[in-house]
């Protein structure tokens, strides 16, 4: 219990640091939101007036504190370029990226666990060797490239989906999921390859442990030894990996949303950075940091549940 309290404390500290760093980053990088809003032909007077209106003329610390106080109250501010509440923009975009991440994660688990078990079962055989080579190749290919490849193959050659034809979940949930399946698969494949490699070797190294011999001595068959004893132990390192994977998938959505033309969080982040739309960027980055930190906590709790030795 005390450890969990400590974890939560360090979580909050991480968020604080992230928020300061994000806020400070926009102090350092060139570009002025007032100019980008008014255009480069604007007169210095009108720029100054707008800066004052936006509160940009106040000192850094004052701006940070008032922003942080607003964030704590749940007010993420107003977007410069959309003239909308940041929170309502995020509420609009977040489900898209979130669903994509969940689908990717489900695909990763559904594919990697059975494949890893099979490869471990036939370790050092032809299947295992072929699997290793295929795996190595898939691990090396970045998601965006797979995305382009899939768009061409499944979208243009087989016509299984319409490239760029994103359907909003508000209009048609089935169509929305059907379209998101492809980018999710592109995200999942390299993660699958990594999970397979890790899980396969975790299973094999667990299979060498002495408790496995004990399990056999009680009359378990190979399959029973695997499912009753080995798998749970082998999953411990994988849980940590999968936790990091979720965070990585959300951050990675920036690229894949470009490739598949999906109006999600990642794409919004990219446009907002180039528009110097500080409130949006800051809110999104703090949100992503929050997801990462919360994922870490969840992973920690699951690991404790699975492996009682972790204290």
């Amino acid at each position: 219990m005390k450890q969990i309290f400590k974890k939560i404390l360090s979580m909050l500290l991480t968020l604080l640091i992230v928020s300061i760093v994000v806020f400070a980053a926009f102090e350092i990088i060139p570009g002025d939101p007032a100019i980008s809003k008014l255009g480069s032909n604007a007169t210095p007077e009108s720029v100054a007036r707008l800066r004052a209106e936006m509160g940009l003329d106040r000192p850094f610390l004052v701006r940070y504190l008032s922003w942080a106080a607003d964030m704590l109250k749940g007010d993420m501010g107003t977007s410069y370029s959309y003239n909308m509440k940041v929170s309502s923009i995020i509420v609009d975009k977040l489900p898209i990226t979130l669903v994509m991440t969940v689908v990717s994660m489900v695909l990763t688990l559904l594919i990697s666990v059975p494949v890893a078990i099979t490869l471990a079962k036939y370790a050092k055989s032809g299947i295992d060797r072929t699997g290793h080579i295929v795996n190595q190749a898939l691990m090396a290919v970045p998601s965006f490239f797979l995305g382009i490849l899939m768009t061409w193959l499944f979208g243009m050659v087989f016509k299984w989906f319409k490239p760029g034809g994103f359907i909003s979940y508000k209009r048609n949930v089935a169509g929305f999921l059907g379209y998101l399946f492809w980018p999710s698969l592109a995200i999942a494949i390299p993660k699958c390859a990594m999970s397979i490699k890790l899980l396969r070797s975790a299973i094999l190294s667990e299979a060498d442990k002495e408790y496995v011999r004990t399990a056999y001595s009680r009359g378990n068959s190979t399959m029973e030894v695997l499912y009753r004893h080995v798998l749970k132990n082998a999953l411990v390192p994988l849980i940590t990996f999968w936790g990091m994977t979720v965070a990585d998938m959300i951050a990675g959505s920036i690229v894949i949303e470009q490739v598949f033309n999906i109006p999600g969080l990642g794409r919004m982040l990219l446009t907002s950075i180039s528009n110097r739309d500080y409130p949006v960027v800051e809110a999104v980055i703090v949100l992503i940091a929050m997801v990462v930190v919360v994922m870490n906590l969840i992973v920690d709790l699951i690991c404790r549940k699975v492996d009682p030795r972790i204290k």
Partner: protein, 263 residues
Amino acid sequence: MSLLEVKDFGVEFHDHLTPEKVVEHVSFTLDEGEILGIVGESGSGKSMTALAIAGLLPRKKMIKEGEILFEGKDLLTMHRSELRGLQGDEICMIFQEPMTALNPTMKIGRQVEEALRIHHKDMSPEDRKKRAIECLENVELKDAEAVYDSYPHELSGGMRQRVMIAAAMVGHPKLLIADEPTTALDVTVQAQIIKLLKKLNKKEKLSILFISHDLSLIEQISDKVQVMQRGRIVEQGSVEQIFKDPKEEYTKQLIGAIPEVKL
């Protein structure tokens, strides 16, 4: 008929370019309620023999010769599923390292009950738990209920070895193979485990194959002894015979090497 009859047993490894004989011409018998001590240095083939009887030698990469008859049936040639039916039920084994022989992520209770779950599927969960607790009490663990609900890392080495024995005894086996069961434990715990094994031997008419490199332990526990060296049996006989009147030079050397404690 003896409970266990090993006839001209041999093991040859084939995992290298040249085959290697690690056990040769090993023959012995073990009767019900008897304790046979096998003594020898590491590499003498004693553990290999034990693993073969427990059915734990891999089928690939090695050739096994001779017969291992358990109640008249050859363990080396019987079908895998028939062998599994005996493992954990009639033939049980405990190992050298109680720290690693238990599954770290499974509660003690489940591990003690496991042989029942495999071999006595008709037993109700409550009966299984009752039997497990009874076994934990039989191996003289205090607060068996608490042990039942703990994980291996929460117990000491001696307690874990007791748990291993409890798990082995759960299905009333006829044969217990103990491969250096006290080597990893400190001396006082060693003595307790030996006493416990002797008690189970008397109470349950359990036959024990006790393997050790420690002659003084072998002398304490065994009814009969066999000395192994380089995969062969050098000498066998009753405890009195071996320790009072050893015939072979190697046996004499081993006995001569027992440190005498003079106070």
